[in-house]
Amino acid sequence: MTSFVLRRLLFAIPTLLVMLTAIFVLVRMVPGDAAQVVLGDQASAASLAALRAKLGLDQPVYVQYVSFLLNVARGDLGQSLSSGRSVIEEVGQVLPSTIELTAAAIGIGLLFGLPLGVAAALSRNGWIDYVSRVVSLIGLSFPAFVSGILMLIVFAIQLGWFPVLGGSGGRQSFAEHLRGLALPALNLGLIMTAYVMRVTRAAMLGVLTEDYIRTARAKGVGPVRLVARHALRNSLIPIITVVGLYFGTLIGNSVLTEIIFNRPGLGKLILGALNSRDYTLLQGLMIIFAICVIAVNTLTDLAYGLVDPRVKYS
């Protein structure tokens, strides 16, 4: 067990190294001189040279590469070019808001997705199955910003049920805070529901034809117990895999959702960095995302063992 965990963790290192190298190369592909791009055409030669020295652009590429890797290893992702604060600090400030949103979305996705998937699988080719398949395909087809804008227009602007500007600063009561969170969380959560439902349905269909389900039925196990104890438990592995793989999509969708609903978070941070051409902030964000994705991938692999005792740690 311990050696499996260790080996899995060690395997993450070369992957991380390749990703860091790709990010390093990508950032250096910015057309023209990065310092010139940041400071604009009017910049004096002295200030250009100063910024180049600050960014380490006056060093040979291999020196830049090594110091880049060393800095990442030390947890130093550099300073934002526009605010001067460290990237970690910038991200740390908006992260709670993004985590709150994505956690609410995952909750909604599992709350609706699992039962709907089970119901669809049990009524296979019946009308519940048919309707939920079509609805989930529509859910999967929505780009997050399209569904977000439509929800904003209908529920916030036309019907006035929710505030147009979500969690936009200031002191709010808890109820107001929840009202601001509701629409963006529903937007993300309903899209995720479509994913979870599809996977749950497929996984349940696979399990329901197994012999041990028939045996359990023959023994007189009731339908609730059959689904909860026998079928769903064994469907959890593919579901966990997909929820783990979905993390990347969820982050991308939450960026768009935060922009639409004007919530503080990674989305607005990225948009701001794009608009001010804050390359160090963008680079830092990419590194953080890469680390998160690799961490989630590794954790998903490790989680198999907790659900399925048959997974061999070899």
Binding site: V30, F142, I157, L256
Partner: protein
């Protein structure tokens, strides 16, 4: 594991037909897609106005008999921009998928054919690319390269390489061991000839089947990037940039955002309906379900 790739070895020219005959929803997808492509092709004849023609006297007009879908903040006709926007969205998505297919399939076939440590490293990197948020990957690349049509295509193509490589790799691994490849090798075929003449033709149908699903994803990414402002520069009409402009006027002109939103939704849904049916038809395990 090698069994999973086995069905791909038989060529199934009637796969599209099979998918359509089994699945009524696929017909809807195909019909919608044909309609959208037709509208894009016939744009100059269908559009009632010039999509770039500004008319300040008629700005932010709601939908009416004169302007069916209203006008935007420059007084441009939304319907005409929507029709011309279909061209850009479809072209960018299609071009990106072709690039991703060429690069991804090449990587997948070589990686699967060579095998060993090389294969493991390539697959490890592709796994991370697959898990990396598509939108953020595209966003970072588009941001670093700068906003233009070519860079947008490159950025979207990069996000779709990993799935192509994976779909190409799996059948390559089983084809590599088949008798006809072995036979060819025994009378002196080189690896390049085996890969291009014997392996590639036998797995191309798998790759093509998946591309309609990934075309849907590419069109979604294009719209998202355009919405963020990293798409084809204005004044060219694209659905994503139309939504971006609509979003800026969301409080007083709902029609600006709603119609291009619906256009994207219908296009992606049509591709997904068709892609799902094609995938089900090519996977014997799902046919019985």
């Amino acid at each position: 594991m090698s069994d999973a790739a086995a069905p791909s070895l038989e060529s199934r020219p009637g796969r599209l037909w099979l998918a359509l005959s089994q699945n009524r929803l696929a017909w809807i997808g195909l019909a919608l897609l044909a309609l959208i492509v037709l509208v894009a092709l016939l744009a100059p004849w269908l559009a009632p106005y010039d999509p770039l023609e500004q008319n300040i006297a008629a700005r932010l007009e709601p939908p009416s008999a004169e302007y069916w879908l209203g006008t935007d903040s420059y007084g441009r006709d939304v319907l005409s921009r929507l029709i011309y926007g279909a061209r850009v969205s479809l072209f960018v998505g299609f071009a990106a998928i072709v690039v991703a297919m060429l690069v991804g399939t090449t990587i997948g076939v070589i990686s699967g054919y060579v095998g060993g440590l090389f294969d493991q490293i390539v697959m490890g990197v592709l796994d991370v690319m697959l898990a990396f948020p598509t939108l953020l990957l595209g966003l970072m690349i588009a941001a670093m390269l700068g906003a233009s049509l070519e860079n947008l295509i490159i950025a979207i193509a990069v996000t779709e390489i990993a799935p192509f490589a994976r779909v190409a790799r799996a059948p390559t691994i089983s084809l590599r061991e088949r008798d006809f490849v072995e036979a060819c090798r025994s009378y002196g075929c080189g690896p390049v000839r085996i890969m291009t003449r014997h392996i590639l033709p036998n797995m191309m149908s798998d790759v093509v089947v998946m591309s309609s699903l990934w075309l849907a994803s590419a069109i979604r990414t294009e719209a998202s990037l355009s919405f963020i402002g990293l798409g084809v520069p204005p004044p060219t009409a694209t659905w994503g940039s139309m939504i971006r402009e609509g979003f800026e006027n969301i409080l007083d002109a709902w029609w600006l955002a709603v119609f291009p939103s619906l256009a994207i939704l219908v296009t992606v849904l049509a591709l997904n309906l068709l892609g799902d049916a094609l995938r089900d038809a090519s996977d014997p395990r799902t046919q019985s379900r």
